[in-house]
Subunit: 144 residues, 2 copies
């Protein structure tokens, strides 16, 4: 399966070290520049307050199956973390849409390195607002 | 960028017509079969109640920038929908983890076609449980 960027994410973070661990830790504003050929695909996007960005972890190489997340002291299975070094370099973030200007989206809560290749945008739907209990065990209490 | 499946999703849905529109409409149980070589990467996954599955819309070909979602009567911009026909065939679903048996995860709320190629698994973290208002405009009221 081949993947081609549909745009590029501009952020204030020039290196991994500067980049926040999760979007809910970030107040940074980013610019999502979608390729002009896809501009019409952005219609109606302003009707959503939050978007899911899917992008390439373009700076990551290789992976380990047991990893130590930044927020943790123990080795964890890779798929129970969001660490960028994964078999497929696919990342996702939920961001808040501030406004759209043509093929550019201004968003809040960006947590990726500048010039990250954008692969897709999907509307964020709060799947679990019906009171369903969500358990995040080892991650608990680390989201503040 | 090249993408390789890390496993396969088994579901009761053999065709697009049978497949639910969104996971919160589905009560179906699916089996996520991760390639044996990645089994150790699943450690600690039981500590999360919900998972994000990233997969390939392997039955989709081509795309249009203006589309009519199943739940709607108007043409919408592609990126304000979750329609499978997209520039990159990447889909995501949030499912409930029932149990793990080695390299197989049994999940609830599956909404993909049987034998969908799995690209990644990430823990689901409820980013917006802090009372932040989420707006989903045209989609509103269609999630029940």
């Amino acid at each position: 399966m081949k993947i081609k960027p549909i745009g590029i994410i501009h952020s204030p973070f020039k290196s991994k070290q500067e980049t926040p661990i999760q979007p809910f830790r970030s107040k940074a504003v980013g610019e999502i520049e979608v390729l002009k050929q896809y501009e019409r695909g952005l219609d109606d996007i302003e009707s959503f307050s939050h978007l899911i960005l899917i992008y390439q972890f373009h700076k990551s190489r290789g992976f380990s199956l047991k990893v130590k997340p930044l927020l943790d002291d123990s080795l964890r299975g890779l798929f129970s973390t969001r660490i960028p070094r994964r078999p497929n370099q696919i990342g996702l973030s939920i961001v808040k849409l501030i406004r759209r200007k043509g093929y550019i989206l201004f968003v809040n809560g960006i947590d990726v390195i500048d010039e990250t290749p954008l692969l897709d945008i999907k509307p964020y739907l709060p799947e679990f607002n019906s009171g369903e209990e969500v358990r995040t065990c080892w991650f608990e209490g680390r989201t503040q």
